[in-house]
Symmetry: C2
Subunit: 299 residues, 2 copies
């Protein structure tokens, strides 16, 4: 089936108690694609500046990610600087430079428009909507967002959500977006904006899916060492959407399995900086950890 | 089989966003007993002052809780005042008056000493140890503790833990006790103090059990309205120990089921102030919610 993903490609500088990296490969669409490509084929839409290292382009190509939709324009690539401390549950943003994203308007290559599985990774919801207008007849549209857009353009976000089947969002963000400090009430409210399912990411506490008539809850995979949480949410979404696209089945039982694959992918990603762990990851390791989560949660 | 529980009986004054109560029935041993008695018979050891209302004594008797070990002495009953705000995950203690607990030394009635299942609810670990010295040949000893004892008497706590099979503790406390901010590492360290299992309570994020070679993780039951979290940990322990005692099976698979019963009992308890929800609770409601948690977590 394959997935179309639109989002950011970035150069991230990150400090954690375990070390730091400078201008490492990152960005929501990149993390998502590198995770989801273990399951299915990926078409990527993003923009970078001419300063984006060729080695990163080569890496994405080598992983069979279709980058026809990766625009390279004059100017600087999007950059994010952040720091994690203590329990590593919250990113402290030191700086965000949108750079080439400020004037970006995604234009989908013709062969991208027939995509059935769409992931609108975290970018301006206006751009997410522009992408949706260009796709023809999607089977499942999922999206992510962040506190910045919830504060700046809540109206555009709500407009976009009318066309979204599944919102994947973290717990602090859904509380902010809904104005509710209880996650059940918050999800119920956000379901009224349009999505048929809301998946809430809770970091080390796992994730939950809310639909109109069901709740699913799964813990995170327990790790004794989290090196860098950057990209956890996007690799989670990558595993989730990757498995759905691979199996082409969007019934609730299958979405639950997909959430476990998302959990698995996120758990690997946080074990090293940037995409370093994902670069070495094997399908066998993914399936083993899926089985471990089965054992971890069964009673 | 039955359970011997030692802990506090208290009069709690609590404020939450949903209201407040003044000098309501509370205390770790009381919450535990009222929860566990749905599963098995309970022998309670605690102390209260002469000001402890007779209606509370009558209530415990009516629930078939053996209160031969409830000492009534001159002086005032233990009192706690606390407040919960926002996401209700943390209690802000306004005052703690130990009162009659300051000079308490538990003396077990003769027929208490043969108990096979022992729960050392949250009191001074020195008193927990005094109780253990009086029991003859227990099958399972579980204990709880709190930040106060971890700060004041960590040595006594460690000495007590040498005789404990299962420590039931909340996440902030196990991090404080171990000096580790990662829950996997924290539990590994505390297992070295003696217990064969550590059960970590994480409030709205559920609970985890760590043994030397396994991890079990279960989410909380999702509630759209938490009225008063007081006693959640003790009613959790009550469901857990109650089911173990009832089934008289301490294999890991059965302990996992017991943790689900703990989760169920805690989820009911927080739906009203003090023990008000527990007073109305039925076995049918307990079993229904157990099944709901099964559905909530299956994939």
């Amino acid at each position: 089936m394959g997935i179309l993903v639109v989002g950011s490609a970035a150069l991230d500088s990150v400090q954690t108690p375990h070390g730091k990296v400078k201008e490492a490969l990152g960005g929501s669409a990149v993390y998502f694609a590198v995770s989801a490509r273990f399951f299915t084929s990926i078409k990527l839409v993003a923009v970078v500046g001419e300063d984006f290292p060729q080695e990163h382009v080569n890496f994405l190509k080598r992983k069979n990610i279709d980058i026809e939709g990766l625009e390279i324009v004059g100017g600087e690539t999007f950059r994010w600087k952040g720091r994690y401390t203590g329990d590593m549950n919250t990113a402290h943003t030191l700086s965000t430079c949108l750079n080439v994203f400020e004037k970006f308007h995604p234009k989908l290559p013709e062969n991208y428009r027939e995509s059935k599985y769409i992931f609108l990774a975290n970018i301006d919801p206006g751009l997410q909507l522009e992408v949706l207008k260009q796709v023809k007849n999607p089977k499942l549209v999922a999206s992510d967002t962040m506190n910045l857009w919830i504060s700046l353009v809540p109206g555009v976000l709500k407009k976009t959500l009318k066309h979204v089947d599944m919102l994947i969002i973290n717990d602090a963000e859904i509380k902010q977006f809904s104005g509710e400090d209880n996650i059940v009430r918050a999800s119920r409210k956000v379901l009224q904006f349009g999505p048929k399912a809301v998946v809430v990411k809770r970091g080390e506490f796992g994730s939950m899916m809310f639909t109109g008539n069901s709740i699913f809850s799964v813990p995170a995979y327990p790790l004794d060492r989290v090196v860098d949480p950057t990209g956890a949410g996007d690799t989670f979404a990558g595993g989730l959407m990757g498995y759905l696209s691979k199996t082409d089945n969007i019934k609730e039982g299958n979405i639950r399995k997909a959430i476990i694959y998302g959990t698995v992918m996120a758990s690997f990603n946080v074990q090293d900086f940037s995409l370093d762990r994902m670069k070495k990851l094997t399908v066998k390791e993914i399936n083993n950890r899926f089985n471990e989560i089965s054992k971890l949660t069964s009673f």
